[in-house]
């Protein structure tokens, strides 16, 4: 019943399918607009947001620059507080460690708090293969798990489902995994939340092992921090005897006081609240619990080595960039073929996995480079900058490479450009609507612009920039075009009028 992102086609194919799903687009439009407004209000209300954002960026950059030192400090502090620390170089090793820890308790099931890191490594599937059942407890994760579905949003994995779809999933699927949905379940959000409460209640009270991630780790004190809304996190972190937390190495903060910055940035950016309902912090073995911390690399150190791309490791998984992205709003999260969808996914997935597959190589193009994601990012990740950087590194088809090389040669010298323009204009009647062969990939999604009868340079030469002066003088003026704005504008106007009158027919 578990779906997987493996072997997904490239972004354009996924997106093309998604935009034809009217229900999906309506669900996404409603949800992303709601959260966008709430975030904007929560951010506007807090004075000094930009300073806070700069502090968030600087603290993260400083931590990443000294990550080895802070990881060792974290390890020492956790061990001192009675916890155990494990290091996992990749997904397979992390999954092996967790499976071994669960088996050592003698249990064959665990409750789980939603965590991006454990989704990234496919922990549920790996544990299932060793006979361990994992029960997701976050409402949206429960909806995804019961529906045999894939998450499509970082914060709200079931954002692609509306209330009546959720009701249907609960009504038909809950019984197979435990307490069935109540008779006569309506699609009121409060009723759906109540159904989830009843379904998971006994499971929480009986659970012996819990698996979580963490939003932050404090190197100075060895403290882990989990932000949540429903209380399923508190249930998992508090009730079971054994707690296993799998946390990416980039989640560190140096000091306890640094948390002040991030406890303000995250909730306002994420759910648009002044504060999320529940935040739990614990250090080592809390209240006699057995605690294991699994520190996960899984490609993060490769990202850290990229001068431009490493800023992606500042990400605190708030998902504000998804909610403002015009591409995400239309294509939805599944199109990105990864647990990290949206703009942050478009820069994180290709960096974590490399760009060998068609999907990952297509992700840096899953953007219009409008920059809305950068504006809302609480740690100021310049996502468009990284996208452009990755586009440069992505494999390009031969036809595109040749075309770009040819264009580079022409644009390098004004004489070449002039000759190419004149040649093109002479042949304008023969320019097809679609380019032939491999170049058709370009014109399939773009209209070729209509070629004018005369190039701007030739027009300038002929009319003296519209000034009526002799061409010789006008040419000198033309070279200083940027400082002679008014004249250039006058020329533009005249050219437009000419175009309207005669369509340039000569």
């Amino acid at each position: 019943m578990t779906a997987t992102f493996l072997g997904m086609p490239a972004f354009p194919a996924n997106a093309a399918r998604a935009v034809h799903d009217a229900q999906l687009r309506a669900n996404l439009r409603k949800a992303t607009r709601t959260i966008r407004d709430r975030r904007a209000a929560a951010v506007a209300e807090l004075p000094g947001w930009e300073r806070l954002r700069a502090a968030g960026r600087q603290i993260k950059d400083h931590t990443l620059r000294n990550l080895d030192r802070y990881l060792l400090r974290m390890e020492e502090a956790v061990v001192r507080a009675g916890g155990h620390v494990h290091w996992a170089a990749d997904a397979a090793e992390a999954n092996r460690i967790v499976a071994g820890l669960v088996e050592a308790t003698g249990e064959n099931s665990a409750v789980k708090v939603k965590s991006m890191a454990t989704q990234e490594i496919g922990l549920n599937e790996a544990l299932a293969a060793r006979g361990i059942t994992v029960h997701e407890t976050d409402l949206a994760e429960l909806i995804v798990q019961l529906g045999g579905d894939l998450p499509s949003h970082i914060l709200v994995p079931a954002i692609h489902r509306n209330r009546s779809e959720i009701r249907e999933i609960f009504r038909t699927r809950m019984g197979a995994r435990g307490r069935p949905a109540p008779e006569g379940l309506t699609d009121e959000p409060a009723a759906l939340a109540e159904a989830a409460r009843l379904h998971l209640r006994e499971r929480f009270l009986a659970a012996k092992v819990a698996i979580s991630g963490a939003n932050f780790m404090i190197a100075e004190t060895g403290t882990l921090v989990v932000l949540e809304s429903e209380g399923n996190g508190r249930m998992c972190l508090t009730l079971p005897r054994t707690l296993i937390s799998v946390v990416g190495i980039e989640k560190l903060l140096p000091t306890w006081r640094d948390l002040a910055v991030f406890l303000q940035l995250l909730p306002r950016s994420s759910t648009g609240e002044r504060m999320n309902p529940y935040t739990s912090t614990w250090t080592g073995a809390a209240e006699g619990q057995e605690f294991h911390l699994v520190l996960l690399d899984n490609g993060r150190t490769a990202v850290l080595a990229d001068e431009v791309g490493r800023q992606a490791l500042r990400c605190i998984r708030c998902s504000a960039c998804l909610n403002v992205c015009p591409v995400y709003e239309r294509a939805g999260g599944h199109a990105y073929g990864s647990v990290y969808p949206g703009p942050i996914g478009a820069i994180l997935t290709p960096q974590l996995h490399g760009m060998a597959s068609e999907l990952e190589a297509s992700l840096p193009y899953a953007s219009t480079l409008c920059g809305a994601c950068f504006d809302v990012c609480p740690v100021a990740i310049d996502i468009p900058e990284v996208l452009v950087h990755l586009r440069g590194m992505a494999p390009h088809p031969r036809a595109e490479r040749l075309a770009m090389r040819a264009a580079g040669w022409v644009l390098d010298r004004p004489e070449r450009l002039g000759r190419a323009e004149r040649l093109g204009l002479r042949l304008r009647r023969f320019v097809p609507r679609r380019l032939p062969g491999p170049l058709s990939a370009w014109t399939d999604t773009r209209d070729l612009p209509e070629l004018p009868a005369e190039s701007f340079r030739d027009w300038w030469e002929r009319t003296g920039g519209g000034s009526g002066r002799p061409p010789e003088r006008a040419r000198r003026v033309g070279r200083r075009l940027p400082v002679r704005r008014s004249r250039a504008h006058a020329g533009d106007r005249e050219r437009q009028e000419r175009g309207e009158r005669g369509g340039g027919g000569r």
């Binding site: 669900n27 949800a31 709601t34 959260i35 004075p47 000094g48 806070l52 700069a54 502090a55 603290i59 950059d61 400083h62 000294n66 080895d68 060792l72 290091w87 996992a88 170089a89 090793e93 949206a140 709200v156 079931a158 954002i159 959720i166 959000p189 759906l192 939340a193 409460r197 929480f204 009270l205 004190t221 809304s229 429903e230 209380g231 399923n232 508190r234 249930m235 009730l239 306890w256 006081r257 948390l259 002040a260 910055v261 303000q264 759910t271 002044r274 309902p277 529940y278 739990s280 912090t281 614990w282 250090t283 209240e287 520190l295 690399d297 150190t301 490769a302 850290l304 080595a305 001068e307």
Partner: protein, 206 residues
């Protein structure tokens, strides 16, 4: 090479040529509460922001506290709340359930509600922080029952998140509570009441 050594070596190689990055310790980044447009009184601000989460809030003075607590419990129909060790006697009702011997999860699930104090509260965000200290008890006491009545002294209220962190001890397990349990998972609308206490009632004692 162990994975620990491998990861540390990869990190050192990755950042070897990167410039040193200074962290600005911008802890007091937010100006204190009381700037234009916000009530200057932290108690007022706190009470208003807790109420925004759809929790019930009462503000009273020291003499009135016992009466307000008793009335709240009576309204809810709680005759014997769970009361952790160390709650001031004047707040404690005559009939209560003590956590001694420690209550099991099942017993807490059947409890009518829980009455506690807190460690710190934050005005700007309407947040209450519990640190398992006196009058607060183990974390599960305020988690499993469906009704939480929390008493906050005015002196425990700070303006900002940063001040709260300064007063708190990270060695203790902390629970930060901002309104009742809620979810935004259905169409991104906040719905109160999932797994934690669905009703949060707060008494602020001036």
């Amino acid at each position: 090479m162990t994975s620990r050594e491998l990861i540390l070596a990869r990190i050192r190689a990755a950042v070897a040529s990167a410039p040193e990055a200074e962290a600005v310790r911008a802890h007091g980044v937010s100006p204190p509460a009381g700037e234009p447009g916000e009530p200057g009184d932290p108690v007022e601000l706190f009470a208003g922001r807790v109420a925004d989460y759809r929790a019930t809030v009462h503000v009273t003075d020291g003499d009135g506290a016992a009466g307000v607590i008793a009335a709240a419990l009576a309204r809810r129909g709680v005759s014997r709340p769970v009361v952790p060790d160390g709650l001031p006697g004047e707040w404690t009702p005559a009939e209560f359930v003590a956590d001694d011997p420690p209550l099991g999860a099942g017993e807490l699930d059947r409890a009518e509600g829980v009455l506690t104090g807190c460690a710190v509260a934050i005005a700007r965000t309407g947040t209450i922080v519990l640190d398992t200290g006196p009058g607060q008890g183990r974390r599960m006491l305020t988690l499993v029952p469906d009704y939480h009545l929390c008493v906050v002294r005015a002196g425990q209220i700070v303006a900002e998140v940063a001040e709260a962190l300064e007063r708190l001890d990270p060695a203790l397990p902390l629970t930060w509570i901002s309104g009742p349990s809620a979810t935004s998972d259905i169409e991104l609308n906040r719905v109160e009441g999932v797994h934690g206490p669905r009703t949060l009632e707060v008494v602020v004692v001036r």
